[in-house]
Subunit: 353 residues, 2 copies
C-alpha cells in the first residue's frame, strides 16, 4: 500500500516522540512492503513562532492531502497564565479539529501488566480495566457562539450548543464500538441541569432500538467522575460531549498507571488523526528523556483505524510489549533499572519489529 | 443561645438521616444549654407529590425565617431518564440555592483512620489528604440564559456566564480559608478554552496581591481531574465554577473511602445551609439502613459556620469518631461486625454526646 502521512510534531517533547514513531512506521513499511511518504508541518507554539498562527493554512493543506495525520503535542508555558494573550497554541489545536472535522475523539483505557503497579488505584480495582471513551470533539462549549465579554469587560459568557446530527454521528460510533466489544454503552450527561444534555439523552434513547444487542445506561457526569475511580471495570464504551469528555478522559488516563503509554485517535468523515494523550511536557523537551510509547501506540491505532491494517498494528503493539518486558524503557518507567533515552527506545523498537 | 433551624428532609433516605441529626442537635442543645426550635418543610420529589412544586413558597419562607437550614437529599428515580419531564426534583434544589443566595458550596475532603482502607486509592496516596473545595453554586451554566431548544427541537443550548462580582465573592472566601489553612489556593478553570474561565483567572490574579501570604496556583480542570487521584495531598483550598465544582467535588468525595461521611455547607450572605454530600439513595429508603454520619457531621459544620460554636461542633465530631472507634455503625461500613440501624446509630450518638 502507498500511504501519505502528515507529521505534526508540535511543541515540547512532540518532535522527539514523533521522531520515534516515524522510525517505527518506517520499519513497518519495510517489513510489510508499504511505501510511506511523510510530510511535516508546524502547529502550536512552534507554528506561532514561525508564522504567527498556531494552525497555518499550509499545515492544514498538508493534512488535507494526507491519508492520516500523526500529531505530537501542543502547548508552551510562555502562553500560560496570561488570560489576555491574543494567540494561544491551543487555538491552533481547536481550529485544526474543527477544520479537519475530527468530531470523534477515541480514547481507550487499558492496563499493561508490567505497569499496573504504578496505578494510584488498588490492584483489585484496576486489574482488567478495559473501556473506551468516544468524546465529541468539534462541538459544544468549545465552539459555541456567542462567547466573550460584555463591553465593560466585567462579565464573560460561553455557549454550549449541540444539534441532533452532531450527537447522532458520535453516538452511532459508540453503539458500533459497543457491538464489537462487551455491548454496554454509557451515555454521560448532565440531563438534570442542561438543555444540551437532555438532547443528548433523548437522541441516544431514540437510536437505542436500532442497536438491540447493546445495553444502554445513562449516568450523570458527576456520578461517572466517582465511578471511574471506584468501579472502572464496570465500563465498556462511554459517549459524551466535548467538555465532559475532556475532564473524564483525563481522569480515566491516570487510573491505569500508564498514562505515558495511552494513544488516541480523532476521527472525521474523511480525515483521521492520531496522537498520544499526554501533553507537551515542556520541562522534558530537548532532553531525549520523554517516553515515546504513547505516540508509537498511536501509530499502531493509525494502521488499524486509518488503513484497516490490523496485522501491522499488532506488530507495533507486540514490539511495545516486548520493550516493556525487556526493560527497554525511558526513565519515567525504568524504576531503578537502566533508563534508555527516547531515541534509543525508538531505535530498539524499529530494529526489533 | 436560641436557634431556629429549618429542616428540609427531602427524598429517599433524607428523612431518616435528618431524623438522626435532629436527635444529635437536641442532645447538643441540652448539654450546652441552647434552646433549639425546628421547623420542617418539604422539598424535592416529596414536595412535588404534595404541592406540584419541588421548592414551594412555604418552604422558602421556612428557610428565610430560620438561622440555619439542615437539608437531607433530593431525587427520585421516577423523575429520571425522562428528558421530557416538566417538573424535576433537582429544579427545586437549584431554585432553592438561587433564591437563598447560597453562592458558596464548601466541601471538605479528609480521611478517617478507621475507614481509609476503604479508599480505592493506595494508602500512601490518600493518607493525610486534607483539602477543601469552594464551588460557586448560584451562577455559571446552571442558571445562564438563554437555554433551551430551537423551534424544531433539533438543537439545544446552554449559556455559561459569570460576572466579576460573582467570582470575587467566591474567591475571597477561598483566599480567607487558605489563610487559616496551609496557605495554598488553586484556581481551577479552563482558561485555554473558555471566556468565563479567563475572567475567573484574571479576577483571581487581581485579588492575589491582597493576600500576600497565600500562594496561588492556576490549573486546568482536566489536569485537576487527574491530580486529584494522583497527588491529592498536594491540594489545600480549591476554588472553581459551578459545573467544574460539581464534577470535581464528587470525584474528590470518593478518594477518602468515606463518601458516606462527608458533610458540606452552602453559604450565602444571610443564609447558611448544611447537607450531606451523598444522594437520596432511593434503594435504601425506608429500610433504616442509611448511614446518618454525613448528616450528623453537617450539623457539626452548622454549629461552627452558622453559630460560631466550635465547642459544640467538636463535641459532635468527637462522638462520631467514638461511634466509629466502637463500631456503632451502619451496614455500609460495618464490615463483618454488627451492623446497627440508622435509628440506633442516631440514638447512640445522642446518648454518648
Ligand atoms: C489543550 C486543550 C484545548 C485540549 C482540550 O481541552 O480539548 C486538551 O485538554 C485535550 O483534551 O486535547
Ligand atoms: C442534583 C444536581 C442538580 C446537583 C448539582 O449538579 O449541583 C448535585 O449533583 C449536587 O452536586 O448537589
Amino acid at each position: 500500500m502507498e500511504m501519505n502521512i502528515a507529521l505534526l510534531p508540535g511543541d515540547g517533547i512532540g518532535p522527539e516522540v514523533i521522531a520515534q514513531a516515524v522510525k517505527v512506521v518506517k520499519a513497518v513499511g519495510k517489513k510489510f512492503g508499504h511505501t510511506i511518504h511523510f510530510e511535516e508541518a508546524p502547529v502550536g507554539a512552534a507554528a506561532i513562532d514561525l508564522t504567527g498562527d498556531p494552525y497555518p493554512d499550509n499545515t492544514h493543506d498538508v493534512c488535507l492531502r494526507a491519508d492520516a495525520v500523526l500529531f505530537g503535542a501542543i502547548g508552551d508555558p510562555k502562553y500560560d497564565n496570561d488570560p489576555k494573550a491574543k494567540v494561544r497554541p491551543e487555538q491552533g489545536l481547536l481550529r485544526m479539529r474543527q477544520k479537519l472535522g475530527l468530531f470523534a475523539n477515541v480514547r481507550p483505557t487499558f492496563t499493561f501488566p508490567s505497569l499496573i503497579h504504578k496505578s494510584p488505584l488498588k490492584l483489585e480495582r484496576v486489574e482488567g480495566v478495559d473501556f473506551v471513551f468516544f468524546r465529541e470533539l468539534t462541538g459544544g462549549i468549545y465552539f459555541g457562539e456567542p462567547r466573550g465579554r460584555n463591553e465593560q469587560g466585567t462579565k464573560a459568557f460561553d455557549t454550549n450548543v449541540y444539534s441532533k446530527e452532531e450527537i447522532t454521528r458520535l453516538a452511532r460510533m459508540g453503539f458500533e464500538a459497543a457491538q464489537k466489544r462487551r455491548k454496554l454503552l454509557t451515555c454521560v450527561d448532565k440531563a438534570n441541569v442542561l438543555a444540551t444534555s437532555r438532547l443528548w439523552r433523548e437522541t441516544v434513547q431514540e437510536l437505542a432500538p436500532e442497536y438491540p444487542d447493546v445495553k444502554v445506561e445513562y449516568e450523570f457526569v458527576d456520578a461517572v467522575a466517582m465511578r471511574l475511580i471506584q468501579w472502572p471495570k464496570a465500563y465498556d464504551v462511554l459517549i459524551t460531549e466535548n467538555l465532559f469528555g475532556d475532564i473524564l478522559t483525563d481522569e480515566a488516563s491516570v487510573i491505569s498507571g500508564s498514562m505515558g503509554l495511552m494513544p488516541s485517535a480523532s476521527l472525521g468523515t474523511d480525515i483521521k488523526l492520531f496522537e498520544p494523550i499526554h501533553g507537551s511536557y515542556p520541562q522534558a523537551a530537548g532532553k531525549d528523556i520523554a517516553n515515546p510509547l504513547a505516540t508509537v501506540l498511536s501509530a499502531a491505532m493509525m494502521f488499524d483505524y486509518a488503513f484497516g491494517l490490523k496485522e501491522e498494528a499488532q506488530a507495533i503493539t507486540d514490539v511495545v510489549n516486548k520493550s516493556l518486558a525487556e526493560g527497554v524503557v525511558t526513565e519515567d518507567i525504568a524504576e531503578g533499572g537502566k533508563a534508555f533515552k527516547t531515541s534509543e527506545v525508538g531505535d530498539w523498537l524499529a530494529e526489533n519489529l
